[in-house]
């Protein structure tokens, strides 16, 4: 379903006057992208579903205050990101605790580390590994909140820097810098694992 900007404006007006069927149209138009963002944060299908549902519910309750300065999807994505951050905070008792622990400790960390270490092996060796994607995403979970958010929006949801900038209320330059910082950290971690496993 693709709702034009003009149609979206009409739907928003209707939703603001209490038309729930119009709100459903708006949600249907955005739900796949929202789910992807939520999954990027939670890495769990059921948690992502809950996050999307909760964010859309909160957005409905606040739709009267939505002034149309951005697209509906951008606006709900902001709500969703805050929802996901709160969720991770309460789940991990700290924004990065779970993923850091998962990578730094235990057998699963060794497993993830070995996968990550092989990331810089020749492409024909790593490309076939289905686990690579999950390992790097686990490493993304270690990033500071703002860098993680940009990584989710750009790499996992496929947003352009300008779209991500709108969602986060930042300039494209800031987004570019955050993405670069995220890449630097991921590279460094990959190198560390590589050195740890294969020796310097």
């Amino acid at each position: 379903m693709n709702v034009s900007r003009e149609e979206e404006g009409e739907m928003i007006k209707k939703a603001q006057s209490g038309d729930t069927s119009a709100y459903e149209v708006l949600v249907r138009d955005s739900i796949d992208r929202l789910y992807r963002v939520a999954l990027g944060f939670t890495r769990s299908d059921s948690d992502a579903e809950d996050m999307v549902q909760e964010a859309c519910f909160k957005a409905f309750l606040s739709i009267g205050r939505f002034r149309g300065d951005s697209s509906f999807r951008t606006w709900v994505t902001r709500i969703l990101i805050n929802q996901c951050k709160d969720f991770l905070r309460s789940r991990n008792r700290g924004p990065q605790a779970s993923d850091e622990a998962a990578i730094a400790e235990g057998s699963s960390a060794d497993h993830a580390g070995s996968i990550l270490a092989s990331a810089f092996d020749p492409p024909d060796q790593w490309a076939a590994r289905g686990e690579m994607r999950e390992a790097i995403r686990m490493a993304i979970g270690r990033l500071p909140a703002e860098e993680k958010t940009v990584a989710v929006l750009v790499w996992i949801d496929g947003q352009s820097y300008s779209e991500a900038a709108l969602v986060m209320g930042e300039s494209e330059g800031t987004i570019a810098w955050r993405i670069y910082e995220a890449r630097r950290k991921l590279c460094r971690w990959l190198d560390d694992y590589r050195e740890e496993i294969h020796g310097k």
Partner: protein
């Protein structure tokens, strides 16, 4: 050149390489990076690493149809919108029939009807009691002085005057008053302030009143606060008004017929998005939107022992 372990020679090229890897560079900038890459082994290797990171993640799959419908179904359930009550009912009956024999089903239906009738009687009694209590609450008009400051918190207040409309969405109640109710320069948009306003809203927490936007007053309540409102009024229900009764709330007593003045009592858990026009109404629960016809006089008793 500096290799900062990011695989590029310095932050300048690192940032550009990162943008290049994400296809965020075009024109002159892109050509500049490509010229640099042609002569820089470090950055060529760095670019490969950068692309590994972003490309190996890939986009997540979108929702399956089943998951999408489940999420949307739950959401719509929460916001009080049932897209196809009839079809759901039919489906339910079909499912039950496939499990139980006809006479077992008939027995179950009879039992359910008895329970429903008992609940209905109980609800009617409750409404009568509610009506009695409301009638007992003295309606005291509080004067609205433009210099007063008053915090509405667990107060017993009454309003007698014109309200254009009143709506609640999330944590915000908006009360539309006729323009003449306030001098135009009394409130400044964007300023947060307490103002005297006697609207029949009771909350367990202080109600902050935000800026005035035209004739719109915004009362901000804590999120998920339970709000109790009791309103008694009488007005003519038009055909359009009757149409507004579509929703999930239940009407007890006499029905509201289009085109004639009618009195009803209703009790409802109004859900987000529902909207009613007021007849003689008493209700309790979470109010999402109440629209009162402009110019109608209403009396509001916020804490009528609901």
């Amino acid at each position: 050149m500096e290799n900062n372990r990011s695989g590029a020679c310095g932050d300048h090229w690192g940032t550009l390489l990162s943008k290049y890897a994400d296809r965020e560079l075009a024109g002159v900038d892109r050509e500049e990076v490509e010229r640099h890459l042609a002569g820089c082994e470090t950055c060529r290797r760095g670019l490969v690493r950068y692309e590994i990171i972003s490309k190996s993640i890939g986009l997540d799959p979108t929702l399956s149809v089943d998951r999408r419908e489940r999420v949307i179904g739950k959401l719509l359930g929460r916001i009080g919108y049932d897209r196809s009550e009839t079809s759901i009912w039919s489906r339910w009956v079909e499912q039950v029939q496939s499990v139980f024999s006809a006479h077992v089903l008939a027995g179950a239906m009879a039992a359910a009807a008895s329970i429903f009738f008992a609940l209905w009687i109980q609800e009617r009694s409750h409404l009568k009691e509610l009506d009695r209590r409301m009638a007992a609450v003295p309606v005291t008009a509080i004067s609205m002085n433009s210099t007063d400051r008053r915090l509405l918190s667990n107060m017993r207040v009454a309003y007698s005057g014109d309200i254009d409309w009143l709506t609640l969405s999330g944590d915000q109640i908006q009360v539309g008053l006729p323009e003449k109710s306030f001098p135009p320069d009394e409130f400044v948009a964007g300023r947060e302030d307490y103002v005297p306003l006697s609207i029949g809203v009771a909350s367990e927490h202080p109600i902050r009143i935000l800026a005035r936007d035209g004739a719109v007053i915004k009362l901000v309540l804590p999120v998920d606060d339970r709000i109790r409102v009791a309103i008694r009024c009488s007005l003519s229900i038009t055909a359009a008004g009757a149409a507004l009764l579509d929703g999930t709330f239940t009407v007890f007593g006499r029905g509201m017929d289009a085109g004639r003045k009618s009195e009803i009592s209703c009790a409802a858990e109004l859900k987000p998005g529902n909207r009613i026009k007021l007849g003689e109404v008493s209700f309790e629960g979470r109010i999402i939107a109440i629209h009162v016809t402009a110019g109608e006089r209403i009396s509001v008793s916020p804490e009528a022992q609901l």
